[in-house]
Symmetry: C2
Subunit: 460 residues, 2 copies
């Protein structure tokens, strides 16, 4: 009976004294004279299982020579374990070596630094830590799809290649099929009309504009895909390639938007708490003490809603020497985010930001000074989502575009959405890795992306 | 009671004679002297609903002037319809205009050509056809996630930015942050060490190599993300950006792989048949007659499995003047694919292809002439999936790499997976748009991608 270990854990009570076949890898191997123990894991769940073999097997000698890291097929009987920390173990009848592993295998059963493991990114999911991180990544991705699909949203694959340059091309990768060592020149400039699309093209940093178009057809849409930034920045939170979720909702103002953000986040956290208890326990124990309590508390809390203005008031009243002085006209700094989430002891929606520090497509409030933007700050991870009500009035949108010197030609189609049955609408973006940092307690974005891309670092 | 139309359709029997509020768009508007009819749709389901208003309303005149395409909020009573083709309609109490639409709105309630609608890609989901196509796209994407997640696969976000060039860089977009009008030069060549990653980088055409690494940790993984090709090709089936699904399974040979492909495809088709009956009925009526029968038949059929050699035998025996002569050493042409699926009257797995026309990482069979590759051909859409057992033997893999002149250095890590507990494994790729063409009957890839990118065409 060939089984995944996950299936065995789901029904081991019915399998006692039965023979099963498992295929997976040796995580650890302890041999004694007449008996041996193999920590076996097939990757289908966090927990492994202990294989026990003894010298009554004719292959005892061969089995006892198996290396850590090797791929094996094991046939054995599922029996009650004498150890208290495991519900069952496998009494081996036979083991077939499917793929050997040399003794200099980099993943040894000991503690490796995360820095070292980044250098073997192709092997690090074999460890407990990274095995757990990337399973949570998969489960959290599914949680996002389940939330939106079950709430009637349409999943839209917005394009990554774009000729729209509204974020400023210095923030976007240029893509080309031209031979860079032999570029076609016209009037002393590269003749981009010779490129595949007949003009300059980029890989995009957002699907929002295209998402808005689809929200005007389906009412509720979401995107979930890779995104690119060229920032030459080597911090714990920056990567040049990451995944984003960008929902966009018609007939939705900023208050309803906050309801959606809160409901969605609680759904995801609940989903991961339910589906990944072993992984979260591991993180709680070895990565962030109190993680499960933090997540459980979030699910049961009501998120605070406060304006940027009132946040600055709070920051100004407190007796702290801020590195960055809080101001009604400015962004709030990391230190402020940190203080505010501690102050309210939970997630905080900060609304109504000064318009000069926010994007051109956001709805200007009646005070003409602020925009209907909202950032969600969560304890420990800072800004988790950023959203806004969008400017639905064509003339006002154009005014902002002109004010900020945005190139209108490539976004003409986008502006015109306001003319054809455009309506009040709102949307937000959530960086998927930011969410994972929050869910796992792992601090560095390089450790929640399977093969991270950062400046000077594009190995594998 | 504010409702999505989808919710109303799910429970209209309990809502008769109750007042509800809907928000959406006017698809059509017929006015008579004392009464008016609005075809209303909010995009949450394929079907719209008829709004009926009469001159007992004090706003009768204003309402009768509402334009097609406008966004409205309607309050009305849900009543039994006199028309046989609708279960209910809404007797209007009030309508609020949320966003006007001019009379030159491009999407009029008449038949538009698909070519024209491509030119208004931001508006085409407002039509019945494209509204249905992109809802099916969303539902089919969810079907894929549900299949793999419920079968214990881990979803892996493989990187799009890569420095690995194993498909040949002429097929891949180069990406750069350098100023193309002022490139740094060293020894008469562009000095790519000055670029963000310190070397040449591309956006990738596959996640397979990275997927294999993760299959060696989780046993069963899948990718689902965008993919890029630079082909300068203007056909119905080519786009420069599309989405792919690439599962990879450890301890899996080519026969088990075919089992998985067959089970997955049937799951997806069933899921869409169940969740999108109205959309499929529409396609069946207006796009491909017999579509639902085709899909139902697929779900209930057993897919044929036949070698490439035996396919060529069949093609040679039949009395047809082939444009391309069938040969044991060559690929099979579109005309052959078409014949074979008609011959077997259903989906066909073609296995054991001549090694010279297949990729370097595929397992060479004992005959040393063929590889353990498999293409799935489906009636009407041709090749839907392509997969293979992978070469798990390090030495044999290296032999193929040398034979084919593949640059080994950047894929060293990949080859080394064979050393560290590598095992028999297999995987396949499915083009998501190819699947959608099969599911909808729509023939042109430009019509199943929200904002398609093809040569000289990157508008929006």
């Amino acid at each position: 009976m060939l089984k995944d270990l996950k299936e065995v854990y789901e029904s081991y009570n019915e399998l006692f004294d039965q023979d099963i076949t498992l295929q997976g890898w040796i995580r650890n191997h302890r041999k004694q004279k007449e008996i041996g123990f193999i920590d076996f894991n097939d990757g289908t769940c966090f927990k492994g299982v202990q294989l026990v073999y003894d010298n009554s097997l004719k292959d005892f000698e061969d089995i006892s020579k198996l290396h850590i890291g090797s791929a094996i097929t094991v046939v054995g009987t599922l029996i009650k374990s004498l150890r208290e920390d495991q519900a069952f173990e496998i009494k081996v009848k036979s083991i077939t070596l499917e793929g050997d592993c040399p003794e200099d295998y980099p993943i040894q059963p000991k503690r490796h630094t995360r820095e070292f493991l980044r250098e073997v990114a192709h092997l690090r999911p074999h460890t407990n830590l990274f095995g757990a991180i990337f399973r949570v990544r998969s489960v959290a991705a599914m949680a996002i799809h389940e939330y939106f699909q079950s709430h009637g949203y349409v999943y839209v694959h917005t394009p990554l290649i774009t000729t729209t340059d509204c974020e400023g091309s210095d923030q976007m990768f240029k893509i080309t099929t031209l031979n860079m060592n032999n570029l076609p020149i016209l009037d002393n400039k590269v003749d981009m009309s010779k490129d595949l699309f007949g003009k300059k093209a980029y890989v995009t940093g957002t699907g929002q504009l295209h998402g808005e178009a689809y929200a005007m057809a389906y009412k509720k849409i979401y995107t979930f895909g890779p995104t690119f930034r060229t920032e030459n920045s080597n911090t714990k939170t920056h990567a040049n390639e990451f995944w984003m979720i960008e929902p966009e909702i018609a007939f939705c103002d900023i208050n309803k938007l906050m309801d959606i953000e809160e409901e969605m986040l609680k759904f995801i956290v609940n989903y991961v708490l339910e589906k990944c208890p072993n992984e979260l326990e591991f993180f709680d124990k070895f990565v962030e003490n109190g993680l499960i309590e933090k997540l459980t508390k979030l699910v049961n809390s009501k998120f605070v809603r406060i304006t940027h203005h009132d946040v600055v008031d709070i920051l100004n009243k407190v007796d702290i020497n801020w590195e960055f002085e809080p101001s009604y006209e400015s962004d709030i700094a990391k230190e402020h985010e940190h203080y505010i989430t501690k102050y309210f002891n939970g997630p905080v929606f900060i609304t109504d930001w000064p318009k000069d520090i926010k994007a051109w497509y956001m709805k200007v409030n009646d005070d003409l000074k602020t925009v209907a933007a909202v950032d969600l700050e969560v304890p420990g991870a800072g800004e988790l989502m950023g959203g806004s009500q969008r400017e639905e009035n064509y003339d006002k949108l154009l005014e902002r575009i002109n004010e900020l010197g945005v190139d209108k030609e490539p976004i003409d189609w986008f502006c015109n959405l306001r003319k054809f049955g455009g309506c009040i609408h709102s949307g937000f973006g959530m960086g998927f890795e930011r969410l994972l940092i929050y869910l796992t307690g792992v601090e560095n974005i390089r450790d929640v992306i399977p093969f991270p891309r950062t400046p000077k670092n594009c190995d594998f």
